[in-house]
């Protein structure tokens, strides 16, 4: 059993869980995820690890409630309760280097986080910083109250650029606007953005990749698709990358954003929309 030692709301429908999972904490490296099955009748859902504390033997997950399982996690589990299953860390860690450059090259990395993508971005930003790269973080959300991990990301970065769709915090606009400006400003100054890492909703990652493509800035995206086992056994998470089917769980979760078929991925993500809606409606009915 995996005890929740801290549970804290971070924003509307966004919750932080710090969970005891000593083996996962010990092995975790930035970019990896866990499969969580909150209770014996739950689905297994993939959640990217925001932080691992080896001493305490805990991992931190930041979860936005969108469907039955994630709402249930926030409604029915209190601090001190246990999740039934947490398996991981799964997937490949982020390669902390600039693609196409020598391993010892140090450059500028734009970490672009959308919504709760900020949480899995944190260990990645820290790892690039610790390796000696200049980290510029672009943090975006629809509204001010949906911005998470602003302080932590700020301290992990040389520069933190915040934007919201409605202008309630930081610049009014999308992360893609900020990213485009950053690249152009850097180039005008004779320097560059050497790598973009984008984590957030699929549409945001798609447009980040579209933004960097004309500038040929290598772009990593971290995909979160439907999975059952998370170990390469079912193939449900497969996504087309450069025309070849890849498994997000064992080949990813990070891929070259310029090669990912985002439209296909989003279509597959909607495969159980009907069932998900039914499940959520039923859950809300029962909760009343």
């Amino acid at each position: 059993m995996f005890r929740i030692i801290e549970k804290r709301p971070l924003g509307e429908h966004v919750t932080l869980y710090e969970v005891e999972a000593p083996r996962v904490a010990k092995r975790h490296r930035p970019g990896q995820f866990v499969m969580v099955r909150p209770h014996p009748r739950s689905e297994r859902i993939p959640l990217t690890i925001a932080h691992a504390d080896r001493e305490k033997g805990t991992i931190t997950l930041v979860v936005q409630a969108v469907g039955k399982t994630t709402f249930e996690m926030s409604d029915a589990f209190a601090q001190g309760d246990c999740f039934c299953d947490v398996a991981g860390p799964l997937g490949n860690p982020t390669h902390i280097a600039i693609p196409g450059r020598a391993e010892d090259f140090r450059g500028t990395v734009a970490c672009v986080a959308g919504g709760i993508g900020a949480a899995p971005m944190l260990p990645i930003a820290r790892a690039f910083r610790d390796a000696g790269h200049e980290v510029v973080t672009i943090l975006g959300a629809r509204r001010k109250d949906l911005l998470v991990f602003e302080d932590r990301l700020g301290s992990a970065s040389r520069e933190l650029l915040v934007c919201t769709d409605d202008g309630s915090s930081g610049r009014k606009g999308f992360v893609t606007d900020v990213l485009k400006d950053l690249i152009e400003t850097r180039r005008a100054m004779g320097s560059d953005v050497h790598l973009a890492v984008a984590i957030g909703p699929p549409l945001m990652m798609k447009f980040c990749s579209k933004t960097t493509r004309p500038y040929a800035v290598p772009t990593l995206v971290s995909l979160n698709t439907i999975m059952v086992d998370g170990t390469g056994m079912c193939g449900g998470c497969r996504v087309m990358v450069d025309g070849v089917a890849k498994y997000v769980c064992v080949d990813g979760p990070e891929f070259d954003g310029h090669k990912v078929d985002f439209d296909g991925m989003m279509r597959r993500q909607a495969m159980y929309r009907r069932e998900e809606a039914e499940s959520l409606a039923r859950y809300r009915e029962e909760a009343r």
Partner: protein
Amino acid sequence: MTSPPERIALTPEELAARIEGRAAFNPRQRGQLPKVFWAEQDPLERVKNVSEVPLAYTPEQARAEAVRCLSCKNEPCVTGCPVGVDVPGFLNLVADGDFRGAIRKIKETNLLPAICGRVCPQESQCQQNCMVAKVHKDLGFAVSIGKIEAFLADWEREVGGVELPPVGAPSGFRVAIIGAGPSGLTCAGDLRRFGHEAVVFEAFHKAGGVLVYGIPEFRLPKAIVAAEVDNLAKMGVAFELDTVVGQTLSIDDLFDEGFQAVYVATGAGLPYFVNVPGEDANGVYSANEYLTRANLMGAFRFPEEDTPVLRRENVAVLGGGNVAMDSARTALRLGAKNVYLVYRRSREEMPARLEEVHHAEEEGVRFRLLNAPVEILTTPDGWVRALKVQRCELGEPDEKGRRRPVPIEGAFEELPVEIVIEAIGNGPNPLIPKTTAGLSTTRHGTLVVDEATMMTTRKGVFAGGDIVAGAATVILAMGHGRKAAAAIDAYLRCEAEPPTANPPS
């Protein structure tokens, strides 16, 4: 492949007379005794439930069927069994009504008879060699060894009470078993008999491997698997679930944690896809995913349980093995009206068990033999709308003697379906070979082992089951587990570092 023989039911009086007069039969008479058939759920009824299809033998039926055994001197049935169960030995005890003695006899070589009795391909193993079948010139008339075995295991569990095999005196050695499938479970049980500590690491949240995620409830009730796992736990086998060796910890970590040997039994967990256009569409599944959702994750009970699986009227299953049959029959039970089984060769080449093929046909699965899938056609919004197949004819035999399917030019057809399930096979799971130094693999990705000991190219690391054999059978995986346990025992006692007085806990 022969069709199943006509099922003549014997009356209670006939059964009693046969049991009573069993000592007096000469071999010739014995060979001519009619086979005792078990009852089966009606096909039209059973597709509406997930209960087992064959109903168990009654004690009288089991005894009367066992009387048919000729007790052949050369024991061809034993030769056909991958673990060498003493078949005539236990059948004679059954005939005498000594069920306790019979189950003890089986358990000398096979710890999981309730499972083997149900899922072993008996017609290509013990029953294939049965002399009674040869007398009748029909494989369907072999003594029903598997059904009697299942009867005995059920009798023990439900009536007689399970006797656990004795556990050996503690040796102080610790062995890590990776994967709680049939191979790992068998190995763990045997290691306890030798007195070693056995800890099974399982990636999923439940022990059983393919027995729980793959084989459907209607073929192997999960309560039976749970009971077997529970018996192993009572023998002192420890289970560490949610532990993905290769990710959560490595084989090196296991040695560092004080294990002196490791048995890798991670199975064939990498689904193959046919590789035709349209496989990315919504509604295309690997059989692994489809069956795991339905079985392990309980999608049959959605929305009572949270994991969904698509339910549609028209389904195509690609492949001709047991997994294809399981998928097709699962689709029927999930409410499909039309289920096509698309296989590019002919019936003769189908690798599925005769009984599974027969059950699938009875339930209305529509066999499209000599049909090769060429494309999955989709709706404008990316959902499966049809499977395009090309008809084939049998050409020249290949190097294995199997006649190759040759496409008939222009002979295309579109099967209107909303779901395509690919059951064309699985490769070995790459997680362990990828993350462990010193393990050699074949070009198929399976682990290289010394066939006598099942030891890999790394000292103290043994392997068996599908990670070595490729996708094979439950019983072969069990056979490997057993062989490896004996070799691990010998290795620990002769070659391993002696355990420290206080092994790390």
